[in-house]
Each structure stands twice: as structure tokens, then as C-alpha cells.
Amino acid sequence: MNNQILFALAVMLTSATIALAVEPDEMLADPALEARAREVSQQLRCVVCQNQDIDSSNAGIARDMRVLVRERIVAGDSNSEVLDAMVVRYGNYVLLRPPFNTLTYALWVAPLALLLLAASIGITVIRQARRTHEQPDELTTEEENALRSVIDTQLPTESRQ
């Protein structure tokens, strides 16, 4: 009984949070075009909320941007042409996935470069540490003679009893 109430509550709450920002009057009649519009909208940043895509944002400007996206799709633009049209207005900032170009090389390459740097430092350190554990060099004849003379020296005989 309790479980049922909990389940009903969960359904109510989650359906409230996933309620779509896209309103019925914005939607396109053609489901294929509407699906493309949704796909494009999910790649565009809402410029007011900053970390939300326009597809899920209730901001007024996000709505205007969604309408513009749909208009361009209906006019026959490809998905990338629609994205380009938005970049012309708002810059690469509007794309949730930054493009790979001269301005963003550092962004994309830095994690890999840092990883390689850390790995190379680590490997060098480990190698050097290991080298010290290797077999020491052979003794020179001089050292060997010195050692032998020490070993051969008679121990002062203690009184054996």
C-alpha cells in the first residue's frame, strides 16, 4: 500500500521535472522535422541560463531561438547550417560542444598533453628508482685486493676455552 503511494508520488514528481519546455504551439507538424529540431536544439546553449540547452529551457530567449531553429529547418537548412546560423549570432559560445579549431586546440589537446607529461615524469622517476636496485658494478682489482687483505687478516685469537 505504502509502496503504491510512493510509486505514484515518484511518477508525479519525475514527470513534473521532465515536463518539456517545448510548447505545443512551437512544434512542427512533420515529426521528422520536429525530431531534427529537437536534436539541433539540444546542441545549442541557452544564452541566459548558460548551462542548459535551449530544448529544455523555459527562458523567453530560448523559446525564440527554438522557433528560429524550426523556421530554418522548415526553410530547408541542414542541421549544421542551422547551427552555423546560431554561431553567426552568438559565436561558438552557443554550441554546447565546442568545435575543434585553432581557438580550441588548447581546450581539446590540454588534457591529453597533461596526461602524457604526467606519465613521462612518472616513468622517468620509476626507472631511475629501479636503476639503483640493479647489480652494482664489479669490484676493481684494487678494491678486491683491499677486501681480500681485510678478510685474510687473522682475527686476534681470543682465548679458546
Binding site: 544564452v47 530567449i61 528560429l68 549570432r89 559565436g91
Partner: protein, 185 residues
């Protein structure tokens, strides 16, 4: 080689330190959105007048061939900061003799007219952008926004939010003075 290895932590610390110094700079606003419009021609548009204001609407053509830079202000009667900014813009027009064009963003003409009748109309031209489409072309992120457009129709400066407070006003008038000097030469 070994010396280089010892220098690495120092170098890394320096790089990170410089990054933190940049990040902690109180002058830096992490919320600013870079504008792509600066140094680029203003977007092409045509906006009808707001009926009853007595000033004409305007289009891209009106931003070209002026003998001085023009200020383009995106405003709305429902926008509270615009009300505060209105006095600043009025004073700029009166003191600097600069031409001010307004884009009336997503506003009913009657509301805009009532607002202007109450506060006064410093705008030489007002275009009615009811559906907000032209504002999107200008890369609007929120009203008010104010642009300085050079005599050749190039966007020279953009201010997001109301031009209020000493810092904002100083930056704006500096940009305006620079735009004027550039226009002279």
C-alpha cells in the same frame, strides 16, 4: 636532463599560479559572454515604427553613412533596468549630442508608447521588434543591451545590461569617444 626534471615542478607551479592569478582577478567577470558582433557589420534588418511615438522605425541602411557613431539600445517597457537606464541615455543624448536609436523588444506598441510618454523619448528612431527576431540577429542575451555603431555600419562596442554605475558609464563614454575619434580620422 636531471636539472630539467627538477625544474618541472617549479614550471608547473608557475603556470598554475599564473592561471589562478588570472582567474582571481576581481575585474574579470566570468559571466560575460563574448560578443561576435564587435568589429563586424551590423545585421541586416528592417523594423517598423512604434505607432504614436512620432519617430520613424529604422533598418540597416539607417546605420550606414551617418557622420558620427550611433548608439543602438535594445529596450522594453516591461524591463525594469531599462527604466533606470533611460535617464542615463537621455543625458547622453543631451550632453554628447549623440544619435540614439531604439529597438523596442517584444513589447506591445501601446505599452511602449505609454512608457515613453511617461519618461520622455530620447530616441531619434525606434523600431518595433515584437517577435524579438531582430534582437536575436544582434545576439541579444537580455534586455537592455546597448551598441555603438560606427558611421560605416560596423558594430564597435557592446554593453550587456543597463549602462548604470560609474564603471559601466566610464567604459561606455570612453568607447564612444574612441568611436568618434576613429570616425574623424
Amino acid at each position: 636532463m636531471k636539472r630539467l626534471l627538477f625544474a618541472t615542478p617549479v614550471l608547473v607551479a608557475l603556470v598554475f599560479g599564473a592561471f589562478f592569478l588570472w582567474g582571481l582577478n576581481p575585474e574579470r567577470d566570468p559571466n560575460t559572454i563574448p560578443s561576435v558582433l564587435i568589429s563586424r557589420p551590423a545585421p541586416v534588418f528592417t523594423l517598423p515604427e512604434v505607432a504614436g511615438t512620432g519617430v520613424p522605425g529604422f533598418s540597416r541602411d539607417n546605420l550606414e553613412g551617418n557622420d558620427a557613431p550611433v548608439i543602438v539600445n535594445i529596450f522594453a517597457s516591461w524591463c525594469v533596468p531599462c527604466r533606470a537606464e533611460h535617464a542615463v541615455l537621455t543625458r547622453l543624448v543631451a550632453e554628447e549630442g549623440v544619435q540614439l536609436f531604439g529597438i523596442n523588444y517584444q513589447d506591445e506598441p501601446e505599452d511602449a508608447l505609454r512608457w515613453l510618454n511617461e519618461l520622455g523619448n530620447p530616441y531619434a528612431r525606434i523600431g518595433s521588434d515584437i517577435d524579438g527576431r531582430v534582437a536575436l540577429d544582434w545576439g541579444l542575451t537580455g534586455v537592455p543591451e546597448t551598441f555603438i555603431v560606427g558611421p560605416d555600419g560596423t558594430v564597435l562596442y557592446k554593453h550587456v545590461g543597463p549602462v548604470l554605475g560609474d564603471a559601466a558609464l566610464r567604459d561606455f563614454t570612453t568607447a564612444l569617444a574612441q568611436a568618434r575619434q576613429a570616425g574623424m580620422s
